[in-house]
């Protein structure tokens, strides 16, 4: 029993990280049709920024941690908005070229991170409480899992509120269905593009800081490894669906954890098999619209 609880909570923590990456990916794809390969770089830069902040602030206390979350999110958002504004926008509606540009950006940025911070992983530590454990139903669970889960839930609720209750949220939801019709109502949908990139970048940056605590290191490759699972999550959840991304994040992470434990380390394959099954029986994903 305690193993199951442990695996579940750890899986939820991992799912939280997936969601923080996948939510932005899915929104960006849903609204703009852009597959953003640079999303992992938003995360990595957020993680490094958060780490640099924490390092300079010195103390490993809660305030430093919260500050690093904020810094990670802001840096991720700025990087993403810059990407949209400088690279994506001039390739409006040319989706393949947009993908290629993000591929180039991801190559170049990861190489640059390598140059700046080195290729070795850097171990980090947060508030002491993170290293302690909490007992739930007999399982001893590392506290940083809870932080990731809570952060992801807050982000999810915040996004849902934003999408449902604000005018820009409405524009984004409408744009996911039809960009051209939104412009045909006299709305400058490009503002929504920048905004969606910024939001996605912020979530990824936040996810980067949390991931660096979850895995206890930062490295230029941090984003890339999470990105691939985030891709899988968005396809399984249904491209463009936030709820789909949330559900798929949890499902994928739990599958992975349980398979890793019970089927001796085959988690990644089980996930790919799950992806294949979803494609065979529901090509548009769990909650995707039929195309």
């Amino acid at each position: 029993m305690s193993t199951i609880v442990l695996l579940t909570v750890t899986g939820l923590g991992l799912g939280a990280l997936y969601f923080l990456v996948a939510s932005g990916l899915s929104l960006i794809y849903g609204l703009m049709g852009v597959l953003n390969f640079a999303h992992g770089s938003f995360l990595t830069l957020g993680a490094f920024a958060g780490w640099e902040f924490a390092r300079r602030a010195g103390a490993d206390n809660w305030w430093t941690f919260l500050g690093s979350l904020l810094v990670g999110a802001v840096v991720g958002a700025l990087f993403a908005a810059f990407t949209e504004f400088v690279l994506i926008r001039r390739l409006y509606e040319r989706h393949i070229e947009q993908v290629l540009v993000t591929v180039g950006l991801s190559l170049a940025s990861v190489a640059l991170f390598d140059g700046i911070w080195g290729t070795d992983t850097i171990h980090i530590s947060g508030p002491a409480w993170f290293r302690e454990t909490t007992g739930i139903l007999g399982a001893q669970i590392a506290n940083d899992r809870f932080v990731a889960i809570i952060a992801a839930v807050i982000v999810l609720l915040g996004l849902v509120f934003f999408l449902k209750r604000t005018r820009y949220g409405m524009i984004i939801r409408a744009g996911v269905e039809s960009r051209s019709m939104v412009t045909a109502l006299g709305i400058d949908v490009r503002k929504a593009f920048t905004l969606v990139f910024a939001i996605g970048g912020a979530a990824a940056g936040l996810g980067g800081v949390l991931a660096s605590h979850y895995f206890q290191y930062v490295s230029p490759l941090l984003g890339g490894s999470l990105l691939i699972f985030a891709f899988i999550v968005t396809v399984i959840g249904g491209l463009g669906s936030l709820t789909g991304a949330a559900i798929a994040s949890v499902v994928v992470a739990l599958l992975q954890q349980f398979a890793n434990f019970y089927l001796n380390g085959t988690g990644d394959f089980v996930v790919v098999v799950a992806l294949a099954l979803v494609l065979l029986f529901r090509p548009s994903g769990l909650l995707g619209r039929k195309s």
């Binding site: 005018r167 409405m170 524009i171 939801r173 409408a174 996911v176 269905e177 039809s178 051209s180 019709m181 939104v182 412009t183 045909a184 109502l185 006299g186 709305i187 400058d188 949908v189």
Partner: protein, 294 residues
């Protein structure tokens, strides 16, 4: 340019329509020869400046030319019909006008060039667009669909509520779950909410039951009292009822313009050649066929 609604030829009676035919045909021929101008964009005498002037408009989709050197203008009052068989480029022309597909050529709205502007700016200049397949946002509620369309500081909610009382009752229903007719109401309402200089309406009666077709036609007639409309319409009976002038496309080109839509429709020879139908015969059947082709 008299604009009398024609008697409803539902009970298709060849004798009834056959009676006055020679006279109508003659006037039609006259007005048509005058209006089938070599330079269709030339301003029509006796009218204020056209609200929309199109000259040399060309557009491509996926490397294929779908609008070829199209020139015509839309008078500042009344309804102008844009006619033609399926796939001749009516929808593409309208989309090219508001920049939904990339285009070259000159488009002038109310005296100002708009052909280099992005879609949203053109719309904000005062253009209402009702797309061919309604394109309501299916996962937004009716109320949200309408709110999204509000551009003016004081949108005309009253008018819309009056025209489409049904929508008020369904304000919180997802637009995707509405019936086709109700979706068309939402789509029309989105355009009518704002003060416009011009409405571009693409096949508003497509796939609707005869009764709803009449309702839509009446709504358009009422709207046309205050704003000029460029209307794509396959239902020739509706065209008869509403349109003053007409522009006919074929193969992406303008092949005919007239300031008397009636005259055109009564000219059997022309309609036969350009639309491939016998304008007077079997409107109901023709509407069915249009529906079935989609």
């Amino acid at each position: 340019m008299s604009q009398q609604p024609q008697p409803h030829p539902e009970a298709a009676n060849p004798a009834a329509t056959g009676g006055p035919a020679p006279a109508t045909a003659q006037t039609a021929a006259q007005s048509t020869t005058q209006a089938t101008a070599l330079h269709p964009a030339a301003p029509q005498p006796g009218h204020a400046r056209p609200v929309l002037e199109i000259a040399g408009l060309t557009a491509h989709i996926a490397g294929q030319q779908v609008v070829e050197d199209v020139s015509f203008s839309v008078p500042a009052t009344g309804i102008t019909a844009l006619l033609g068989r399926n796939g001749v480029g009516k929808t593409s022309t309208i989309k090219a006008v508001i920049g939904l597909i990339s285009r070259t050529g000159s488009v002038t709205l109310d005296g100002e060039r708009i052909d280099k502007e992005p879609t949203f700016k053109i719309i904000r200049r005062g253009v209402g667009y009702v797309p061919e397949d309604r394109e309501v946002f299916s996962k937004l509620t009716v109320a949200e669909n309408l709110r999204l369309a509000e551009r003016d500081a004081s949108p005309r909610r009253q008018l819309v509520e009056e025209l489409f009382p049904d929508l008020l009752k369904r304000a919180s229903q997802m637009a995707g779950t509405l019936s086709g007719g109700q979706q068309q109401m939402v789509s029309l309402a989105r355009a009518l909410l704002n003060e416009n200089k011009l409405l571009l309406i693409d096949e508003p009666t497509k796939g609707l039951a005869p009764k709803i077709v009449q309702e839509v036609a009446e709504t358009l007639e009422r709207a046309a009292e205050t704003v000029p409309i460029l209307l794509v319409e396959q239902n020739l009976q509706v065209v008869r009822q509403l349109a003053a002038g007409a522009v006919v496309l074929s193969g992406g080109k303008v092949v005919h313009t007239t300031d008397s839509a009636l005259g055109f429709l009564d000219n059997e020879d022309l309609t036969q050649r350009l639309l491939g139908v016998h304008a007077d015969a079997g409107h109901g059947e023709e509407a069915d066929r249009n529906g079935a082709q989609k």
